[in-house]
């Protein structure tokens, strides 16, 4: 089976600084891949290059074997690549339900359809399912801006899965989330992976979170891949201990 995502020899330089320096990896269907590394190792730049928010200097990104390098984020979104954000990105004055419906690509279709068509665009069922799945039931009609930080993180994740995407990229999902909520989030991500075969890539600082969630981990340091393997293999890798875990 061809991988869902294939990144080949990706480079990104900002002037003389090589933020990403020849990174190659692939993500198989149903896999949870973790990308870790110290601050400034190029994780976020790598993410932004994959997502079309930055133009890589060199290298290719393929989705299901198709070259999607330099596609715009909205085009990638239509192809089924969605993401969550390190800093929260919801529509604060809209309800949780409406946020989810928007994330479900409801804006497809004609102008007239969008004016006179059903307001939920047939996505109510899917939104309700996500609300239930991420345990946001009591908040379905609350404004997203009024939710706690952790609840907004759950909503952010739910939005990423709303369009039934091929691949979800999670940018530091655990950042700033309290321990209870972190457990919830991890448990929900694992469940969506197991039940729906969702494939995702997680960038994270929180080692415990990555090690316990991901099936495979890539370690980046100074824009290069330092190690790759199962969480146990990575933990035992002397180079990784030296560069990251040792600190």
């Amino acid at each position: 089976m061809s991988p869902v995502l294939e990144v080949h020899e990706l480079h990104k330089a900002f002037g003389g600084i090589k933020a990403v320096n020849g990174v190659s990896f692939s993500v198989r269907e149903g896999e949870i891949l973790g990308i870790i590394g110290p601050n400034g190792c190029g994780k976020s730049t790598l993410f932004n290059c994959i997502l079309g928010q930055l133009e890589p200097t060199q290298g290719t990104v393929k989705l299901d074997g198709r070259d999607v390098t330099n596609l715009r984020p909205s085009a990638l979104n239509r192809l089924g690549v969605s993401r969550t954000f390190q800093l929260l990105q919801v529509f604060p004055e809209l309800s949780v339900r409406e946020n989810l419906i928007l994330a479900g690509q409801e804006h497809q279709g004609s102008m007239l359809g969008r004016l006179f068509g059903a307001r939920d665009a047939g996505l109510s069922g899917k939104a309700a399912q996500m609300i239930g799945f991420f345990k946001l039931g009591h908040l379905a009609d609350a404004k997203a801006g009024g939710l706690s930080y952790g609840q907004q993180k759950l909503l952010d994740a739910a939005m990423a899965f709303m369009a039934g995407p091929r691949l979800v990229l999670l940018d530091e999902p655990a950042g700033g989330v309290n321990l209870t909520m972190l457990g919830d989030l991890k448990e929900r991500l694992r469940a969506i992976n197991a039940e729906q075969g969702a494939t995702f890539v997680v960038i994270e600082h929180n080692m415990d979170f990555v090690m316990s969630l991901c099936s495979r981990v890539i370690v980046l340091a100074e824009g290069r891949m330092l190690a790759e393997g199962t969480p146990a293999e990575v933990r035992a890798n002397p180079a990784v201990i030296e560069a990251y875990l040792g600190h």
């Binding site: 984020p73 909205s74 979104n77 239509r78 529509f91 004055e93 804006h107």
Partner: protein, 292 residues
């Protein structure tokens, strides 16, 4: 009592006009951080263009109205966004605000030179006459203004709150970055708010000009009061602009009747200062935070 009711209804009618202009303010502010200081002139000009089209084309009124209104929406809806807002907003909110001030002068002087320095009659679509409300004689024009303006605002509320397109417009205003990633046509949504703003100005112009006559200087008071109304109601809320507009209209009308016709202008300004001191986000506005 009858006198009070008459002043009140006249106030609600002019307030509805301020509300239309103020809602336009809040819409373009929310989607593109544009404060349009030419908003009053936006209300002045459609009536002038209609009369100009009738005069130049020798056309019947309905055709002149069609040509004038379409020309206005094209130039001051789409054109305003593309020619003034897009090039200026890159340099920040302030240069754009100053550009709209310049635009207001150009529109005003243009109307004076290109049309007339004198006030001209503008036909009404309702017959002259009065209806009696609570013992007060209310002119049909005032009644029509209230009914049509509120209907237009109701339609807008339905559009923004009740349709998918409106929700996409809200999403664009609240978080353009994510809206763009989700594939919402952000640019088109912003353009749409400018077209709606121009359309609201047309409605206001057609409603108020039979009373005020079509004159190049009509925008001065309307622009100022609409701006005050938007701030009093809350710059980031359509509902706030509606309440602010009606409030300013009523306050102005009652002040003129019971306080002083000379100092009437001061009363809404005092209200403005009070709101800025006591509730700077406006009566119905929400606080906006910005990192600097």
């Amino acid at each position: 009592m009858a006198e009070f009711v008459a002043f009140l209804i006249a106030g609600v009618a002019t307030g509805a006009i301020y509300a239309l202009a103020a809602i336009g303010f809040t819409l373009v502010w929310q989607t593109s951080q544009t404060i349009n200081f030419a908003q009053g002139e936006f209300v002045m000009l459609p009536a002038v263009l209609v009369l100009l089209a009738v005069k130049l084309l020798g056309a019947p009124l309905w055709l002149g109205a069609l040509v004038g209104i379409l020309a206005f929406i094209l130039v001051f809806g789409l054109g305003f966004k593309v020619v003034v807002v897009d090039p200026m907003i890159r340099h920040g909110v302030l240069p754009l605000a100053i550009a709209t001030m310049a635009l207001s002068t150009i529109m005003k002087e243009g109307a004076k030179d290109g049309f007339s320095a004198e006030a001209q009659n503008f036909p009404s679509f309702v017959p002259t006459g009065t209806v009696e409300v609570l013992g007060a004689a209310v002119s049909l024009q005032h009644a029509a203004i209230i009914v049509v303006a509120l209907a237009a605002i109701g339609l807008l509320q339905w559009f923004v709150g009740g349709t998918r397109l409106g929700r996409q417009m809200q999403a664009t205003a609240q978080n353009p970055t994510v809206a763009r990633i989700l594939g919402i046509p952000v640019e088109r949504m912003v353009l749409l708010t400018f077209v709606i703003n121009a359309a609201l100005a047309v409605v206001a112009s057609v409603l108020i000009s039979p009373l005020y006559l079509a004159k190049f200087s009509n925008g001065e008071t309307i622009g100022l009061f609409a701006f005050i109304a938007a701030i009093v109601g809350g710059f980031n809320q359509v509902r706030g602009a509606l309440v602010g507009g009606l409030l300013i209209g009523v306050v102005d009308s009652l002040a003129a009747a019971y306080v002083s016709t000379q100092y009437r202008l001061a009363v809404p300004l005092i209200l403005l200062v009070a709101i800025i001191l006591l509730k700077p986000e406006g009566l119905m506005g929400r606080k906006e935070e910005r990192r600097i």
